[in-house]
């Protein structure tokens, strides 16, 4: 094992997870956790950073319970949090289809889908709570798709064998978020939640070892202010934008998590990233983000590349015999429907070998000609019309006449701040929910499970578990002159002053793009020992150059989008380095993490349960982070190797 980039520390344990039969653990924890008397809740202040599914649902619910909540987001409205973009759907073990689904099956599928790198007790709780989420959302008026009988419709998603995905056309995330947003606005009107939009958290305040507040910058006036509380909840989303190009919204960032990490919170499994196979390929250097095309397209489209390298004929001129339907060839049983990670890697292999199509040879065809012949254009239009329109808006090509070009793109980050069963980080009083934590998906997230987790955390888990911590509160009153507060503020101010005074000549975006390229090349779909070592070196060099040459225009006391970006990119540099170190140390392949050195003869991922059945929880240590292992135990789902042949 390569220990040249890190030290190994003591193992960690999830001390809150109850023992006993798995189906009773959540109930048991709810019962054993202490409660806060309603009259005392008014005296307790909780900060929630983030208004996505995880944040808005938590803030609204805590407000309903009577806590005093301060809620933050960097967008101009809480409704614009990145959860709004989720398309496909949300899973729940309702078994409305009577097709054999159950809490246990959802639990089983999720543990297996995560390639046996998640905690059984967490995943089981997620599956249990999933049914309540749907009830809750329907009561809020979320317009899920329905059948003619007026009951909710379900579909099967991401290769699942049961139909357990609830959806609202291609806008499930939007509708769920609006439900949570509206519940949140109701609490704002009721006076229980103070909502601060266009505010960015830039530092965590820790007093006597407890998380007691945050330092925020008002993105309009530039004013730096302090918010103090009894507990802090981070629901700040994923960090896929470390790759610059991803399906995430432009503002997604790691700053809140990273600042907490620097203050002592463990960062778990940072290298687990999910790469989505069906995205619209990059068209040029101006490209600012990548757009996801729904996974459902693979139900009817056939993936192929020209068999001859560098064949740049019009796709219609390439005869059948000269096409390579590589997924159907390599995975006869699953064909075009293999899981995300496999489909993504296969596309990369095809392009790396010179068969790619479109600009830069970074694309493969997703062809609907057969489907149109078989079903008729009308039927294809009914199924995918809106996706085809979106594709045409972006590429200017008509997918009814010419096969779509697709390419994998970074989509979701399974890693995040380490939390225990109560969603508490290792810093007392700091809780983490949604994509920002590492908890429930292991090494790979199943389609339609992120929305489920965000809402499970925010509506049902956190409000129950945080009371056990708050039962000790209210904590000693603090004021803004406390030395820890002053120091945190000074750090923020110094960083801002540094950027604005740096006499540089390169834009923030140019650095971010370059960092993204390094990450994609060496810490993307396929990772190698050599590549990762190289990447760490490149990132360190680029980081030095960043601090020397970055140029940030404007002032501190105004809306300054360059300044915002600079702070985020600075944190991405440090995160990128840790991701590479994590990827380097995990010499097995599992889920979204594929190490070229750990594969079977026919190129499939090979897990190493003997050595790596643990969560890697990293403690901040500058250039030498400290690894704490949390061992994983599987009592109910026995680890097996996945096979899609």
């Amino acid at each position: 094992m390569s220990t040249d980039y890190y030290r190994e520390g003591d193992p960690v344990a999830d001390t809150k997870a109850p023992e006993g039969p798995i189906a009773e653990r959540w109930e048991q924890r709810r019962f054993s956790g202490r409660l806060v008397n309603p009259a005392n809740r008014r005296k307790l202040r909780v900060i929630v950073v983030g208004t996505g599914l995880a944040g808005a649902s938590a803030a609204a619910t805590l407000g309903e319970l009577g806590y005093r909540v301060a809620n933050y987001c960097f967008q101009d409205s809480a409704r614009r949090a990145h959860s709004i973009a989720a398309q496909g759907g949300i899973n729940a073990a309702k078994n409305y289809r009577n097709d054999g689904d159950s809490v246990h099956r959802l639990f089983y599928d999720t543990v297996k889908g995560g390639d046996f790198r998640s905690r059984e007790s967490n995943v089981h709780r997620l599956a249990e709570v999933s049914t309540e989420i749907i009830d809750q959302c329907v009561a809020q008026g979320v317009p899920f798709a329905r059948e003619y009988g007026g009951l909710l419709d379900n579909r099967s998603f991401g290769g699942a064998q049961v139909s357990r995905t609830f959806y609202a056309r291609g806008q499930t995330g939007q509708q769920l978020l609006l439900g949570a947003y509206q519940a949140l606005q109701r609490q704002v009107a009721a006076g229980t939640v103070d909502l601060h939009t266009r505010h960015e958290m830039l530092e965590l305040v820790i007093v006597d070892g407890k998380a007691r507040g945050i330092i925020v910058r008002d993105l309009v006036t530039g004013e730096i202010s302090t918010e103090l509380a009894d507990a802090v909840v981070l629901a700040t989303g994923g960090y896929g934008n470390v790759f610059f190009l991803s399906t995430n919204a432009k503002g997604c960032n790691v700053t809140a998590s990273w600042r907490a990490h620097r203050k002592g919170a463990y960062f778990a499994n940072p290298c687990y990233t999910q790469i989505h196979p069906t995205c619209i390929p990059q068209s040029g250097d101006h490209q600012s983000k990548l757009t996801l095309m729904s996974e459902s397209l693979r139900n009817d489209g056939r993936v192929w590349v020209p068999a001859k390298r560098g064949d740049d004929r019009h796709p219609a001129d390439i005869p059948e015999a000269e096409r390579d339907y590589y997924l159907e060839r390599r995975y006869p049983a699953f064909g075009n429907l293999v899981p995300r990670d496999i489909a993504s890697r296969a596309a990369k292999v095809a392009c790396d070998e010179g068969h790619g199509v479109g600009p830069g040879g970074l694309g493969v065809y997703l062809d609907f000609a057969d489907a149109i012949k078989r079903l008729g254009k009308k039927a294809v239009e009914a199924r995918y019309g809106n996706l085809f329109d979106m594709y045409e808006r972006i590429t200017g090509e008509n997918p009814y006449e010419r096969p779509m070009r697709i390419y994998p793109a970074v989509h979701y980050t399974m890693g995040g701040l380490w939390v225990d069963y109560d969603l508490s980080s290792n810093i007392p009083g700091l809780f983490v929910t949604g994509e920002a934590n590492f908890s429930d998906h292991g090494a790979n997230r199943l389609g339609a499970s992120a929305l489920m987790q965000g809402l499970s955390d925010g509506y049902f888990v956190l409000p129950n578990t945080i009371s056990d911590y708050l039962a000790d509160g209210p904590f000693e009153a603090l004021d803004e002159d406390h030395e820890a507060v002053v120091a945190a503020r000074r750090e923020v101010e110094d960083r801002i002053a540094f950027f604005l005074n740096n006499d540089g000549d390169r834009t923030v975006d140019s650095f971010h793009r370059e960092l993204g390229k390094i990450m994609w090349e060496y810490c993307g779909m396929e990772r190698t020992d050599e590549g990762l070592r190289k990447a760490i070196g490149l990132i360190r060099d680029l980081k030095d150059e960043f601090y020397k040459r970055v140029k940030v225009t404007g002032k501190a006391e105004e809306l300054n989008q360059q300044l915002e970006k600079a702070g985020r990119v600075a944190d991405f540099f440090e995160l990128g380095e840790l991701m590479c170190i994590d990827a380097l140390h995990r010499t097995e392949s599992c889920g979204g993490h594929f190490r070229a050195e750990s594969q079977t003869e026919d190129g499939e991922a090979r897990r190493d349960d003997e050595r790596f059945s643990y969560v890697a929880a990293w403690e901040y240590g500058g250039e030498e982070p400290v690894l704490h292992k949390e061992a994983l135990e599987f009592e109910y789902v026995k680890p097996t190797q996945r096979s899609y042949k």
Binding site: E132, L152, Q182, K250, G396
Partner: protein
């Protein structure tokens, strides 16, 4: 391609702004409109200038953050398309393009092309929700909803809160946005108990925030990237009339 841009520049809410001209070339046809502005900004920074501020986030037409008035049309010339999804191939080499912020009394300019749309949140706070405290919900199948109603509710719920309707309306009215929410919630059985108080509260907040009245001009629906139709305003008017009559 080569373009002449005229862009509204305004350092902050208090300072007067003006249209400033920029020339930009080698714009790729495949770039989105916002990517074209990214390229311009990179150049402005390199030249020591101040980059143009504009709101954006998802860049895939769903968050409702992006908000430019392009050649006098909110979200530009392509129907049912947000600014972030508009691509440069819709323009021609040598075009002059005017870029302005949303204009409405209730949406004051913050900087350059960025405006303050918090008035929309205030409208929602005044009743744009269903009171369903967490944990109190019955089983999701307890109340079936006819598919037509569910589909109609969904169509109204598709609003992304971008504010293009207000920017397009000659009266600076927020009726299409408000109507979309009133229609969405009013079409579900869960939304019935609060239907009357909701519409009265929201209309009061709408007017309070300084939006104008609707005179049924229809520019809002033409500009709406999610194709929310005037029906929702009709529905809003009807709900309001009934609720006001009951309150009186």
């Amino acid at each position: 391609m080569k373009l002449s841009l005229r862009i509204w520049r305004q350092p902050d809410a208090a300072t007067k702004g003006e249209m400033v001209s920029y020339e930009i070339d080698e714009v790729s046809e495949d770039a989105s409109f916002l990517e074209m502005l990214d390229v311009l900004n990179e150049r402005l920074i390199a030249e020591g200038g101040d980059p143009v501020a504009f709101d954006h986030d998802c860049r895939e037409g769903i968050c409702g953050a992006c908000s430019l008035v392009i050649d006098g049309q909110p979200h530009g010339p392509q129907a049912a398309t947000t600014t972030c999804q508009l691509h440069m191939r819709k323009f021609r080499d040598g075009d002059q393009i005017d870029i302005e912020p949303w204009r409405a009394g209730a949406f004051p300019v913050v900087k350059d092309l960025v405006v303050d749309r918090s008035a929309f949140d205030q409208i929602i706070q005044a009743g744009g929700y269903i009171s369903a405290p967490t944990g109190t919900a019955p089983d999701a199948h307890a109340v079936p909803i006819p598919k037509q109603d569910a589909d109609a509710a969904f169509a109204a719920a598709a609003c992304i809160g971008c504010g293009a309707c207000v920017a397009a309306c000659p009266n600076g009215s927020g009726m299409l946005f408000m109507g979309a929410k009133v229609a969405h919630l009013g079409l579900t059985p869960q939304g019935q108990p609060e239907r009357a108080t909701r519409v009265l509260g929201m209309v009061a907040a709408h007017d309070e925030a300084g939006f104008g009245g609707c005179t049924n001009v229809g520019e809002c629906a033409a500009a709406c990237p999610k194709e929310i139709g005037l029906d929702v305003i009709g529905q809003l008017n009807r709900d309001f009339r009934k609720a006001a009559a009951r309150a009186a």
